[in-house]
């Protein structure tokens, strides 16, 4: 995947600066590159001061929701009466997203440093880094990095543990992740109470994404104003963001650009455009859980939290899935629905039954046995699955279905009317 990494001139490398540089993985190598300086400095600062800097920088959660990070940290009790925890969400499982994996593969110390700074800011003595079970290579590097940094005693009183997931997508949902760490079934919890009030083991907890935390040391180093200045568009979206591009582009991979970068340029310039002889048909801009964009929307979309919403989707995790004109959107949507049906935790009725039913209807349409009424049924079902459950897995299944039918209705109708050859669905 293009390593050693040579960034495109239009990239702004902050997080991905050392991607491909194996020496940066080691403790010594990281220190040589200025690593852990900011942690040492932060540990001497008032926690509230650290939070203020992060607030000022405009950093927002990179896991998908885009919640302001400093604000989230400030929800933690100021006066400490119970143990505080920091959970690091490294359970990156969103289809089309592979940015956290690269951070852990190449700059594990960036994550460890950012985590320790965050822990100090929220007055947490313990950090749990919950790493996706399939990430065997990142796990190895993280383990090694943690051992080295712990031996060098850089974390002060803060204790960091790695916790390995066991393969469930839903454990990337923050409260399911906490249940999983506690040794329980990975079911999302009802909110309230929110994690800052009662999270891991019932204690005040903050949970942040890998990319979010990796951005913290550079923010401290170069200042909130610098980070805030990294924006091409909305002042509400600041800094750089890693985009994992996959699908029918010439050069898939991770690209780091400043907020507000045009999606069109990401696809056509940085990724080298579509496969030869093909044209862009659709794009999922923020991981599989967000609405699909058509070509016009894709080519006019700015990559920041507001810009993608303006086009009818969401920035999400930054997993950009690109489809060319050969893509069968009905099939692609069915595959997404099937993923959610497989991964539903089974708690909420709408999700447990709705994801599976949606999949069955889509499979039947693909088999050439669909009815026109199925499209209305899919939309109605999706409406039932949106905003009515504990977590948003159900909504995530509905999003591509609704946006897909809206934008590519003709493809569904072709299958139903028999104008398109049925697909055997395994």
């Amino acid at each position: 995947m293009g390593y050693p990494h040579k960034p495109h001139p239009r990239e702004t490398v902050v997080l991905s600066k050392y991607f491909g540089d194996a020496d940066a993985r080691t403790y010594k190598g990281w220190v040589k590159r200025g690593g852990y300086e900011m942690l040492a400095q932060a540990l001497t600062m008032e926690p509230a001061k650290v939070i203020d800097i992060v607030k000022e920088s405009g950093l927002r959660g990179r896991g998908g929701a885009g919640f302001p990070t400093g604000l989230k940290w400030s929800f933690m009790p100021k006066e400490k009466k119970k143990p505080h925890y920091l959970c690091v969400n490294a359970d990156e499982s969103e289809p089309g997203t592979f940015k956290d994996r690269e951070i852990m593969r190449w700059t594990p110390h960036a994550l460890l440093e950012g985590s320790a700074i965050a822990a100090h800011a929220i007055q947490a003595e313990v950090v749990y880094i919950y790493i996706r079970g399939e990430f065997t290579e990142p796990w190895t590097y993280m383990e090694r990095a943690l051992a080295e940094a712990s031996a060098a005693k850089v974390f002060g009183a803060i204790k960091i543990y790695l916790h390995r997931g066991a393969g469930a997508y839903i454990c990337g949902e923050e409260t399911a992740l906490m249940n999983s760490i506690e040794g329980k079934r990975g079911n999302p919890r009802i909110k309230p109470p929110f994690p800052a009030a009662a999270g891991l083991f019932g204690m005040p907890t903050t949970i942040n994404n890998v990319e979010t935390l990796a951005a913290v040391p550079p923010i401290l180093k170069q200042g909130a104003a610098w980070y805030k200045g990294l924006s091409l568009s909305s002042p509400k979206s600041t800094g750089t963001k890693l985009f994992s591009v996959c699908g029918h582009v010439q050069k898939p991979g991770n690209y780091e650009v400043t907020m507000g970068f045009p999606l069109k340029d990401l696809v056509y310039e940085l990724c080298g455009g579509m496969r030869s002889g093909r044209t862009l048909k659709a794009c999922i801009p923020g991981g599989s859980s967000v609405p699909i964009l058509n070509r016009e929307e894709t080519e006019s979309c700015l990559l920041d939290y507001e810009g993608v919403v303006e086009r009818g989707s969401m920035l999400g995790s930054g997993g950009v899935i690109v489809f060319d004109d050969s893509a069968d959107m009905v099939y692609q949507i069915m595959r997404l629905a099937r993923f959610y049906a497989h991964e539903s935790c089974a708690q909420c009725t709408q999700c447990r039954e709705g994801t599976a039913w949606t999949t069955k209807i889509l499979e039947r349409i693909l088999a050439g046995q669909g009815k026109m009424a199925d499209l209305d049924l899919l939309l109605d079902l999706s409406e039932n699955m949106t905003g009515k459950t504990i977590c948003v897995l159900s909504d995530s299944c509905a999003a591509p279905v609704v946006s897909g039918i809206k934008r590519f209705k003709n493809e569904f109708e072709d299958y139903i009317a028999g104008r398109r050859k049925p697909v055997m669905v395994a």
Binding site: A346, R352, A356, N384
Partner: protein, 502 residues
């Protein structure tokens, strides 16, 4: 501040409830039942079935009434088009994998899925009959519990009961998505002494009692409020009868005694109520044999004995007899030198760990406390010995008792044991399912039970029998009802003084 009241409006009706109350409970006070499956007041909130979706003003989306606390000025609408649409959606989804085998399902008629579907479900499904429904074979979970996974709606009430109430977490949700089912620990059985409650808790016909399997359709049952006779806890129960046969015992909620639960010992403790070998007529001794008589003759015989009696009288009574009967039996001996005693069968205590002060008690009798309050002692052996020289010995429904006496034996009971064949008079009485009465539980709480079925033949409630005998012997007035008997005893007995039948 536990006493702080919150004012809100539910479907237009204003209600005031304590702070912290859940919307679903507040709605009950407004006379509104919000349809629900996973919620149960005796279990921790799960919020998973999503059936209790309601509209709350100012909330951006529908909220679940079971996990939302009331707030001052809150306006709740359970019948708004959005709320009804949301719940209709849940019902449709619950039914797509549900077999619709109501005609052969034990739960039919008392099934919450059936009830709410009739109330607000879709008239027809949109789920194609071409799609297979989820199938898993029936599983034998425990001594009295079958699991029919096809009917399961995964509300997790059973899982939460075992985990949080019984504190023996042998059940879980296994698998994910629409493949999920209730799993049992591979090396465990659902044999906890309180496990049978999962059958009551199950809102559908997924967890079934083997004991009740195919015995009756729900609509054939008559239901009567009663008190369990299994031990001194005094759990409130409902006796379900079909054609005057008790076919099931279920818990009746009482937050102070048994909350929503009963133990399996109590649940199974009903077959004797249907015994066929009952005494159906008064029997009097004539020519060395017992002969059937009418009540007048029998009462007159006893009255004659009582009138001529001198010396000591002894009463050996069952701690399962009603307080009213025990009181009137005592009254019968007014003026005589009498002593009364009872014995209690003991067993193993089995607490329900998650509920304070709730257990299957070692003392396997419902009314030992009542007997004590009335002056009967636990000094059974000595009283039995005293019976040998007593002039009159009254035995109240102790069929296993072997009593020797030189005096006259009066046996009042439901069945005729060999030991009672020497009695001068045998009087047939109703059992607990056949009479009204009161038991006093181990904490001194007097609790009433009601007649669920008729007594066989000429058998009468024991309180009636003793009242008739007293009247015949000129030792008291006739009493018309168990209520009147209770009023009389509550006027004089310490510990029950001042209580009135509700």
């Amino acid at each position: 501040m536990a006493d702080e009241l919150i004012n809100l409006t539910i479907d237009g009706a204003p209600v005031s409830v304590p702070k912290g109350t859940l919307v679903i409970e507040a709605a009950k006070q407004a006379g509104v039942l919000v349809p629900h499956y996973c919620y149960h007041p005796g279990l921790p909130v799960a919020g998973v079935c999503r059936m209790c979706l309601v509209e709350i003003e100012k909330a951006p989306k529908l909220q679940i009434a079971c996990a939302t606390q009331v707030a001052e000025g809150m306006v709740v609408r359970t019948q708004s088009p959005q709320a009804k649409q949301g719940r209709m959606g849940v019902l449709e989804l619950l039914l797509i994998n549900h077999p619709l085998d109501c005609p052969i399902c034990d739960q039919a008629g008392e099934c919450e899925l059936q009830d709410f579907t009739f109330q607000e479900g879709r008239p027809a499904t949109r789920y194609s009959p071409d799609y297979a429904k989820r199938f898993n074979p029936v599983e034998d979970f425990g001594p009295d519990v079958l699991y029919v996974p096809n009917r399961c709606i995964l509300c997790t009430r059973c899982v939460r009961f075992m985990e949080d109430v019984a504190k023996e977490p042998v059940l879980n949700v296994s698998e994910r998505g629409d493949r999920a089912f209730i799993g049992i620990h591979p090396e465990a059985r659902l044999d906890h002494p309180w496990a049978g409650n999962v059958v009551d808790l199950c809102p559908v016909g997924s967890l079934l009692s083997k004991d009740f399997l195919h015995k009756a359709r729900a609509w054939e049952l008559d239901k009567t409020a009663s008190i369990c006779t299994g031990c001194s806890q005094g759990c409130n129960v409902t006796l379900d009868t079909r054609d005057n046969i008790v076919v099931r015992v279920r818990p009746r909620p009482n937050l102070d005694v048994n909350r929503y639960f009963i133990c399996d010992h109590g649940r199974m403790n009903y077959r004797w109520m249907n015994r066929g070998d009952r005494i159906e007529a008064p029997l009097v001794q004539r020519d060395g044999e017992l002969h059937a008589a009418d009540w007048d003759e029998a009462c007159e015989r006893v009255a004659t004995l009582l009138r001529g009696a001198g010396g000591r009288a002894v009463a050996l009574v069952s701690p399962k007899a009603s307080t009213e009967a025990l009181f009137l039996a005592r009254e019968l001996f007014t003026g005589l030198d009498w002593r009364g005693a009872f014995q209690v069968v003991m067993g193993e205590e089995a607490p329900l760990a998650g509920v304070p002060n709730l257990a299957l008690r070692a003392e396997r009798a419902p009314n030992a406390k009542g007997a004590e309050l009335l002056g009967y002692t636990r000094d059974y052996a000595a009283t039995l010995a005293a019976a040998e020289s007593a002039a009159i010995v009254l035995v109240l429904d102790e069929p296993d008792l072997v009593v020797r006496t030189a005096g006259t034996l009066i046996y009042v009971g439901t069945v005729l044991p060999d030991g009672a064949r020497a009695a001068t008079v045998v009087l047939p009485i109703a059992n607990v399912a056949e009479e009204d009465g009161t038991f006093v539980n181990r904490d001194g709480r007097a609790q009433r039970y009601f007649q669920a079925k008729p007594a066989p033949g000429m058998a009468r409630p024991a309180w009636w029998v003793f009242s008739e005998l007293a009247a015949a012997a000129g030792r008291g007035e006739r009493i018309a009802s168990a209520d009147e008997a209770f009023e009389r005893l509550s006027a004089s007995v310490d510990g029950l003084r001042g209580l009135v039948p509700a």
